[in-house]
C-alpha cells in the first residue's frame, strides 16, 4: 500500500503531466465525424495538435475559438458562436466537442449558457450535436480531461430506450491505444456480444489510408451509437477513471455497470473472461483458453529476467496501475514512482511511495533502478541514467507505432512481458574477472551491485 505524496516545490521541471483540455480533445477524437474544439487562445489548440500529430503520425482534426485579449475580457460568446458556425460551414461535422481552457475558465465564461443561446438563435444547427466540457488547464491532468469528456458525452447524448439484447457498452480509458481497443472489440465480439466502444480511437487514429479527404474525424463512435448506449444491457468501464461516466449512464438510462481497473495481466483478463461469459451465457472461446496458457508460459519464461528488477515509472494513474501491478506480479519492484494527478488507484499501488510530481523527481529517485518506463519525454533522463527505457503513454514522438502498441488481453500482456524481459536480456551484464573481488572498504556497495549499476 503506497504512501501518496505531493512534491513540495514551486517549479515543475521536465513535466510528466499534460493538461486536461487536450485529454478531452483526444476523447472527442474517438467520436465519428467530430471536430474537437478548444475554447481558448489558438496556441492551446496548436500545442495539442502538434503533440498528437507527433504521437499518432496522423493528421489531427482540432479547432480553436481563437480567443484574444479583448474577447477574453469581453467574454467569448461571440467567438464560440463564430467557431461553431465556421466549423459547421467548412467541415460539417455531426458533433462538435468543445473543451474550455485555463484562459476562458479564469475569465469564467458560461459556455453552457452560450450554447443554449446559440441553439435558440440558430435553428439551422438543430441536427448538430454539441458537447461542452469544463476542463481548466490548472486543475487535474490529461486523464481527468478525458474522463470528464466521456462523462459529458453520455450525459448529453445517451438516450434511455428499450434494452437491445447482446449490446454492451465499453467505456475505454485514456491509457488504451487504438490497438488495445481493436483487441477489446475482438474479445467482446468473440462472445457473440455487440460492443459500443466509447471513445473509439481504433477507427479514427489507427493510421489507415482512406480513399478520401475529410477535415473531421472519420471513424470512431457514431452519433447513433452514442444515443444507443442508453439501450445497452450492460456497461464495462475499463479504468477507474471511467467509473463516473458509467455511473452517469446508469443514473440516466439504467444501464448497470462494472469497472475493471485494467485489462493488463492474468488476473485482470480472467475477470474479463468471467464477466463476458456470464453476460453472454457462452463459454470462453478456445482461442482465449490457448492465449491464457501462452501468457502463463510467458510469465514462467520471463520471471527469471524480471524478478528482483527495480523499476522507475512515470505515468498517469491508470497506466501506472496497470503496468505497475503486472510487473510487481512478476517479481519486479516499483522503486521510483511518479504520477500526474490524484486517483483512488494510487494508494492501492504495490509501492512504498507514489509522488505526484514531474520527471525531475523521478530522475532523482531512479538512481540505481534497472529500467525506466515513461513517455518519450523520458529520453533525456534515460540517457543520463544509462538504463533501458521502455516508452509508454502519450506522447511517444521518437518511435513509430504508438497507436498499435497492444498491452491488453492475454495476448497483449504476453507481448508486453516479452518486451520488458527482452530489454533486460539485452542489457544483461557479461561476467568479468573482477565482478566477485571484494571491493576496498570505502563504500557500503557490494561488488555485484556496483557492476550492475554500471549498466
Amino acid at each position: 500500500m503506497a504512501n501518496v505524496t505531493h512534491v513540495k516545490k514551486s517549479c515543475a521541471v521536465n513535466p510528466l503531466k499534460m493538461s486536461q483540455p487536450i485529454g478531452a480533445a483526444l476523447a472527442f477524437m474517438g467520436l465519428n465525424n467530430c471536430m474537437p474544439t478548444l475554447h481558448g487562445s489558438q496556441g492551446c489548440t496548436a500545442f495539442g495538435l502538434v503533440l498528437f500529430v507527433r504521437h499518432f503520425k496522423e493528421a489531427v482534426p482540432m479547432q480553436t475559438t481563437a480567443m484574444n485579449e479583448a474577447t477574453t475580457i469581453m467574454g467569448g460568446m461571440e467567438n464560440v458562436e463564430q467557431a461553431i458556425l465556421n466549423i459547421h460551414k467548412r467541415a460539417n461535422p455531426a458533433i462538435i466537442g468543445i473543451a474550455s481552457t485555463g484562459l476562458t475558465e479564469t475569465k469564467g465564461d458560461d459556455v453552457d449558457g452560450y450554447l443554449a443561446a446559440i441553439r435558440k438563435k440558430h435553428p439551422e444547427l438543430d441536427e448538430l450535436a454539441l458537447v461542452y466540457v469544463s476542463t481548466p488547464d490548472y486543475v487535474g491532468a490529461f486523464q481527468d480531461g478525458w474522463a470528464k469528456a466521456v462523462t459529458k458525452i453520455v450525459q448529453e447524448l445517451a438516450e434511455p430506450g428499450e434494452k437491445i439484447a447482446g449490446q454492451v457498452n465499453v467505456l475505454a480509458g485514456s491509457n488504451l491505444t487504438p490497438g488495445d481497443i481493436e483487441e477489446i472489440r475482438e474479445l467482446v465480439e468473440a462472445f457473440g456480444l455487440k460492443p459500443i466502444i466509447l471513445p473509439d480511437l481504433s477507427g479514427s487514429m489507427d493510421g489507415h489510408v482512406p480513399d478520401n479527404f475529410s477535415p473531421t474525424t472519420l471513424g470512431g463512435t457514431t452519433l447513433a451509437e452514442l444515443r444507443s448506449t442508453g439501450a445497452s444491457e450492460f456497461t464495462i468501464a475499463i479504468g477507474e477513471h471511467m467509473r463516473e461516466a458509467a455511473q452517469t449512464l446508469q443514473d440516466k438510462c439504467g444501464v448497470p455497470f462494472q469497472v475493471l481497473e485494467s485489462l493488463t495481466g492474468l488476473d485482470a483478463n480472467d475477470q474479463l473472461m468471467s464477466l463476458l461469459a456470464q453476460k453472454s451465457g457462452r463459454a470462453a472461446p478456445n482461442k482465449y483458453r490457448r492465449q491464457r496458457s501462452q501468457l502463463v508460459d510467458a510469465m514462467l519464461d520471463a520471471h527469471f529476467y524480471i524478478g528482483g528488477k527495480k523499476i522507475a515509472i512515470g505515468a498517469e494513474p491508470e497506466m501506472l496501475s496497470a503496468i505497475g501491478h503486472l510487473l510487481v506480479g512478476i517479481g519486479a519492484e516499483l522503486a521510483a514512482v511518479v504520477t500526474t494527478t490524484h486517483s483512488p488507484l494510487l494508494e492501492k499501488l504495490p509501492a512504498q511511495e507514489v509522488l505526484i510530481g514531474d520527471l525531475e523527481d523521478l530522475e532523482l529517485r531512479a538512481q540505481g533502478c534497472d529500467m525506466l518506463i515513461t513517455h518519450s519525454h523520458g529520453r533525456q533522463m534515460a540517457e543520463r541514467l544509462n538504463i533501458p527505457f521502455l516508452r509508454m503513454g502519450i506522447p511517444m514522438f521518437d518511435r513509430l507505432g504508438a497507436a498499435h502498441q497492444v498491452t491488453v488481453g492475454y495476448r497483449g500482456t504476453r507481448d508486453l512481458i516479452f518486451t520488458v524481459a527482452n530489454m533486460f536480456m539485452a542489457a544483461a551484464h557479461e561476467p568479468a574477472p573482477d565482478d566477485w573481488r571484494q571491493p576496498v572498504a570505502d563504500g557500503a556497495e557490494c561488488g555485484s551491485c556496483a557492476s550492475t549499476a554500471a549498466h
Binding site: 489558438q42 496556441g43 492551446c44 507527433r54 496522423e58 471513424g219 533525456q380 514522438f397
Partner: protein, 499 residues
Amino acid sequence: MDALSKKVQEVFDEPACGKNQAKGEKERKKGCTKQLQPGAAAGGCAFDGAKIALQPITDVAHLVHGPIACEGNSWDNRGAKSSDSRLYRTGFTTDINELDVVYGGEKRLFKSVKEILDKYDPPAVFVYQTCVTALIGDDIEAVCKAASEKFGKPIIPINAPGFVGNKNLGNKLAGEALLDHVIGTAEPEYTTPYDINIIGEYNLAGELWQVKPLLDEMGVRILSCISGDAKYQEVAYSHRAKAAMMVCSKAMINIARKMDERYQIPFFEGSFYGITDMNESLRSIAKLLVEKGAPADLLERTEAIIQREEATFWQAMEPYKDRLQGVKVLLITGGVKSWSVVSALQEVGMEIVGTSVKKSTLEDKQKIKELMGEDAHMIDDMTPREMYKMLKDAQAEIMLSGGRSQFIALKAKMPWLDINQERHHAYAGYSGMVKLVQEIDKALTNPIWEQVRRPAPWETNSVPSAEDSGLSKTTTPSALSPEPSVLGGLSPQTSVLGT
C-alpha cells in the same frame, strides 16, 4: 498590460518592414496579424513564437509561468541543436494551480526562480508570461526585477502571452525583450574587424554548423547568433559586432533595425538556402565588413570560396540533374523560406507548381514573381482539401512542407519532405543544398510509391498473382473482423487538421 499593448503597437509599427510600410495609417494600427477566425484558425500563439525565438539560447533556463498546458504539452519539441549546454531542453514551468489563479502566482514564480538558480545555476533565467497569469495580473516584470536584485543574476521577463497574437508577433516581442534587457549588458573579451551577428537563425538540425566552417575559412567570426546555439553572454555582448545578417525575413527584423540604430551595426537580409542566396549572403557579409573597415582581401577570399563551393556543388548535382529535371513541386511554407527554396529548387531544374505566401511579405512575393514569372502560382491560404486534391490528381509530384501537413501528402500516397522546424536534416549552405536534393531524389525514387498505390485484391476483379503483388500491406486492421465490406470492413476514414 499597458506597457505590453504599447510594445505590441510599437512592434506593429516596424518601419523596416516592407509590408507594414505599404499600408495606410489606420490599417497599420490594426497590426500585421490577420484577425484570427474562430473555428478556422491554425498555428501557434505569441508565447509559442517567443519560445521558438529564444529557446535556442542553450545555457539559459527557460521558465514558463502559467498552467501546465503551455509547457507540459509542448516542451522539448524543437530541433534547435546545441554544441554545449543542454539546459535549454529542460522544461521549467510554474504549473500554477487553482489557488494560484485565485491568489496570484507571483510568489510561486519568485520561488521557482530561486529553485532553478539553486539547482541548475544558469547564467540567466528567461521568464515567459502566458495568458492565464497575464489575465490574473501577475506582474512578471516586477517579479523578475526583484529576483534579479535579490539573486544577482539576470532574470529576464518575456512578455508575450499567447492571446496577444500569433507566432510572428511573439517572435518580435521576444526580440524586444532581448533589446530591452540583454543586448548591450556585457562586453566581449576582445573584438575583431570580422565580427558579425547572425539574427533569426535557430540552428535547426544543426544548420548553422553547415555554414560556420565557411565563415571560419573566410576569417569571419560569429560574435553572436540570435539565437541558434547561442550562449547568454554572446547575446549580451552582441552589440559589439561590426555587421549583421538577418536570416528569417520577418521574425526578428526589429532586432536588426534597432541594433543598427543604437549601435550602428549595418545589416542585410539574406538566406542560407540555395546556391544563389548562399553566394549572395557570403558576399554581403564580406562587403559589409570591408565597408566597416575590415581589410579588403576578405572579398577575394570570399570569391575564391564561393567558386570552389559552387563547383563542388554542381559536381555533386551531376547524378541528379537529369532525374529531377521538370519534377513538379508543391511548396507549402512561410515567409522567407518560400522564395529562397523556390530559387534553390529551380537551380536543379525542378518546376514549382505552387507555393504558399501566407506568411510572406510583399517583398517576398515580389521575389517569388521574379523567380517564377508573372503567372506564379502563389497560394495565399490553401485548405488541406485543396492540397490533397492537387497531389491526388498528380498536378504535383512531391510536396515540401511542415510536419503538420505531411499527412495530406502521405494519405494521397505522394512523396513528402519536411522543410520546417521539426525536420531532421540540415539544408543550409552548399552541403545542405546537396542534402536537400538527395532527400528529394530519395523520396521520389523510393520503391514504395508503386506498391502503396496498387489496389487491394478485393478492389479489382482480377486477383493479382503472387509474384507481381509483392507483399501488399494495405490490409486494414478490421479486415480481420467478421464482416468485411467492399472496402475491407472500414468505411474510408481519416482526419486532417482544421480546414
